[in-house]
Amino acid sequence: MSAKNAQAGSSLWRDAWLRMGRNKAAMASLAVFTLMVFLCFVLAWFCKDPNAVTLTNKFAPPSGDHWMGTDALGRDLFSRILYGGQISILVGLVATAVSVCIGVSYGALSGFAGGRIDATMMRVVDTLLSIPFLVVVIVLQAVLSDWSSDTSSWIVTHWKWDKTFTDRLTNIVPLFFALGLFGWLTLARIVRAQVMSLKEREFVEAARALGYNRFRILVRHIIPNTLGPTVVYATLTVPGFIMYEATLSYLGLGVEAPNSSWGILIKEGANFMETHPGLLLIPGIFFSLTLFSLNFLGDGLRDALDVKASKD
């Protein structure tokens, strides 16, 4: 039984993979994004210290020592971009994971329960959807970031963690939640619509006839079938979250110094753009290239998996 299921499942994904292999833009995007992840999460460890200040070497042009030059405090721009990218990509991925967890369970429960429960749950989603997202995230972020500095000092004194690491961690964790807590709404609607149609299908009836309980049917048989639209939507959500993170950081409500993210680097670069445009342009190119590849990847996945929903 389970072997047969696995066979059927893998063939759908293999088809999709083959279809996507013919989509040059999507494959190129996949390559670019993989390269970006490799640079930020592997190569970065072999780079210079992104926070090493050398005031005698401000605004150095690119050289063998500093591949992309140095910034206003003489810090190496290349390693700052890679370390900043860690945070930007991490925020995008984790916030998406948070919103996928909430969105899929909420949407699946709502669609599976049906009736009055479903109507109430969807009304809640409608209401939350009409609330200005960025507005609430800004306020939430202001609240959470203060708690995070308290939490950080508590962890350092009580658990004896490394202070730099703890500060870094507690600085970005609120962002995951501020973004993830509001990002799940559209996904919940998509999953619900899927579940509504799936639960009328024969294989669900078969599972019921076999005497499986409702929970098992939902988790083992229905939710896996909603994976296609979820993957597509999640892929398109990541660049959105990276953009939100950059926006918040740009406004001074996201990642704080000495941490850096692409939003911070762009902001710092904008201050010196007239004399040293590279400080704005190079982080901007890294940032846009990542978003570009993720968006094309999402579009490619949508075509490959033949998902119609998720207009966005």
Binding site: T127, S130, A246, L280
Partner: protein, 309 residues
């Protein structure tokens, strides 16, 4: 129709209540005191100020007092960080944001829709691919990169355009363009997608076979249905252009509403925060309703009043 609008307005009130509740409790949970910005305020002064702003009352009373003042007197309270009524702040900065938003909307429609139409008509050609790549660039390059770039490349070289500031009518061109760019890019994608779906339908083939010119088929027959996704997008997007322009306002130093919101969140100015948030929420609800009504006018098949599930 009337019942539909009434129902949506009632639902809008519910949304506003939810928004108010969320901002109220978040504002209360915000760290620090509202009056710490002023230097060396004595404890008695603080007590007096708290009393003046009604902050010494129990939480549930404060929760009720604020909205009831808005309903009974249209009074959004007094900003604790600026010492001015929130009504003044909103009425001064809203016109600026509105002009900026309208300019951005004009750019968005003027650029996005034609690009989408050309792309759809020349589907899967080099024109289509390059236009869509340009649109994707518009989505992926953030306003805070575009804005500064425009400042050095355009404003510095063209006389009459200032790098930043808000005084002469020309000043709104660059910020409006920056603000409208992302929406233009989304509109181009949505228009293309919407048109492609319509162009494959039978009535378009009929129109062609009647001997109508291709331009007429596109503009008269296909566009009406093809614009539906764009219209649905534009309502909320316009509200976002008016309200969510924090970044553009900061870059070009435009005295709009967005900056007040961010400053209020940083300065723990709860009345300003709640006032501006409620005002934004109201705008968004209104624009959503407007785009729903417009959708109904464009597409008679969309039965207004029947909730889309």
């Amino acid at each position: 129709m009337f019942r539909f609008i009434l129902g949506r307005l009632l639902q809008g009130l519910l949304v506003l209540l939810a928004l108010y509740t969320i901002t109220f409790f978040l504002a209360k949970a915000m760290p620090g005191e509202p009056f710490t910005t002023e230097k060396n305020v004595s404890e008695t002064t603080k007590q007096y100020l708290r009393k003046l702003y009604g902050l010494e009352k129990p939480l549930w009373q404060q929760y009720i007092i604020y909205p009831s003042k808005i309903i009974s007197a249209g009074d959004f309270g007094v900003s604790t960080s600026k010492g001015r009524p929130v009504n003044d702040i909103i009425s001064q900065s809203f016109p600026v944001s509105l002009v900026l938003g309208l300019g951005a909307l004009t750019f968005a429609i003027g650029i996005g829709v034609p690009i989408g139409i050309i792309s759809a008509v020349r589907r899967n050609s080099w024109v289509d691919w390059s236009l869509m790549a340009v649109a994707m660039v518009g989505i992926c390059v953030p306003a805070f990169t575009v804005g500064p770039l425009l400042q050095i490349l355009v404003a510095a070289n063209i006389p009459g355009l200032k790098v930043a500031g808000w005084g002469s009518p020309l000043d709104f061109l660059l910020p409006a363009f920056t603000l409208g760019l992302v929406s233009a890019a989304y509109l181009a994608r949505l228009t293309r997608g919407g048109l492609l779906e319509i162009l494959s339908q039978d009535f378009i083939r009929t129109a062609h076979s009647k001997g109508l010119s291709p331009t007429r088929v596109i503009l008269k027959h296909a566009l009406r249905g093809g614009l539906l996704p764009s219209v649905a997008y534009l309502g909320p997007a316009f509200a976002a252009m008016i309200s969510g322009s924090f970044i553009v306002e900061t870059i070009f130093q435009v005295p709009g509403m967005g900056q007040h919101f961010v400053n209020a969140a940083i300065a723990r100015d709860e009345f300003l925060l709640m006032g501006v948030a409620l005002f934004f929420g109201f705008l968004i609800i209104l624009m959503n309703l407007a785009s729903d009504i417009l959708t109904g006018l464009l597409d008679p098949r969309v039965r207004i009043g029947k909730e889309a599930s």
